[in-house]
């Protein structure tokens, strides 16, 4: 079970992974559109007050494209037998944990707390939030960091299978690749906005 959760790429065929990944991306985009969330970067997720329905879909397409493109290039350099479809499924499946983010927007509770926090920005002593709101923020932060960590773990395991990565040098390239994909996606978002 643990292996299935952390490394589904060893066991499942690319068709199953691709279908699951695409389905999850669509669901994640619908949730983000419904709960005013934007994924404006490979590693980013933000709440917004105004949103056109297509934006989260476009965000996810750009993020998946950037990460897949960079990791495919690095994968090909490491192992020429690396296939594009394997990298694409790794990226699609790895992003699933990030789609939990919009769920914290249900009821607009997170947005309300954020609005309360904004006037006190830079001064922790003037925070005007209740204990329950503080606990909500803490749970949100923990869950979001856990989701981000799971995203990286899934990406790491998936990339290892897709490109047969073994050496430290290759893992350094992988980490560098994530940063390059983040910068590339940010540049695209800046150009589009």
């Amino acid at each position: 079970m643990e292996r299935m959760m952390t490394n589904p790429f060893v066991r499942y065929s690319e068709k199953k992974l691709l279908f699951t990944g695409l389905f999850a991306t669509i669901i994640g985009s619908v949730l983000a559109a419904h709960f005013y969330t934007r994924y404006d970067g490979v590693l980013d997720a933000h709440t917004v007050s105004e949103l056109k329905y297509y934006m989260p879909f476009l965000d996810n397409v750009i993020n998946v494209f950037c990460l897949s493109l960079v990791l495919y290039g690095i994968g090909k350099y490491i192992n020429r037998k690396t296939r594009g479809v394997d990298i694409l499924t790794v990226v699609l499946i790895s992003r699933i944990p990030l789609y939990i983010f919009p769920l914290f927007q249900i009821g607009g509770y997170l947005d309300e707390i954020t609005k309360k926090l904004l006037p006190a920005a830079g001064n922790a002593f003037e925070l005007n939030i209740t204990g329950i709101e503080m606990i909500f923020l803490l749970v949100f932060a923990l869950v979001y960091f856990a989701a981000l960590a799971l995203f990286i773990v899934l990406l790491r395991y998936g990339f290892a299978v897709a490109s047969n990565v073994k050496s430290v040098k290759h893992w350094v390239l992988f980490a560098f690749g994530i940063l390059v994909a983040e910068i590339l996606s940010k540049l695209i978002f800046l150009t589009l906005n």
């Binding site: 065929s13 394997d86 897709a162």
Partner: protein, 97 residues
């Protein structure tokens, strides 16, 4: 019960060689010092993988479906075995020199 052919010395881990062969019919014994064939120098798991590869006419996709693994997992295993065979070939070549 099929016994596992030992290929490494249990004491010092050096690759074993064949020093005696015998005929199960007439008990004729041939003595000498022969290297193990390269295929036998692989682990049992690796030998089984190669056997499956041949029986599946070299189709990694069919092997992946049979083994319940993904295609890149099976391809990586094949690549690892190829790497090991090349290492053994180089090592055996150096030993011959």
């Amino acid at each position: 019960m099929a016994f596992k052919l030992p290929v490494h010395c249990p004491s010092c881990e050096t690759m074993l060689s064949v020093s005696q062969l015998s005929c199960p019919e007439c008990s004729t014994v041939v003595s000498g010092n022969y290297d193990l064939p390269l295929f036998l120098q692989l682990t049992r798991d690796e030998q089984d993988f190669i056997m499956q590869f041949i029986l599946n006419s070299g189709s990694l996709k069919e092997m992946a479906a049979q083994m319940g693994n993904s295609y890149p997992t099976v391809r990586n295993k094949l690549d690892d075995i190829i790497g090991k065979i090349n290492q053994l070939k180089n090592k055996n070549g150096k030993d011959d020199d």
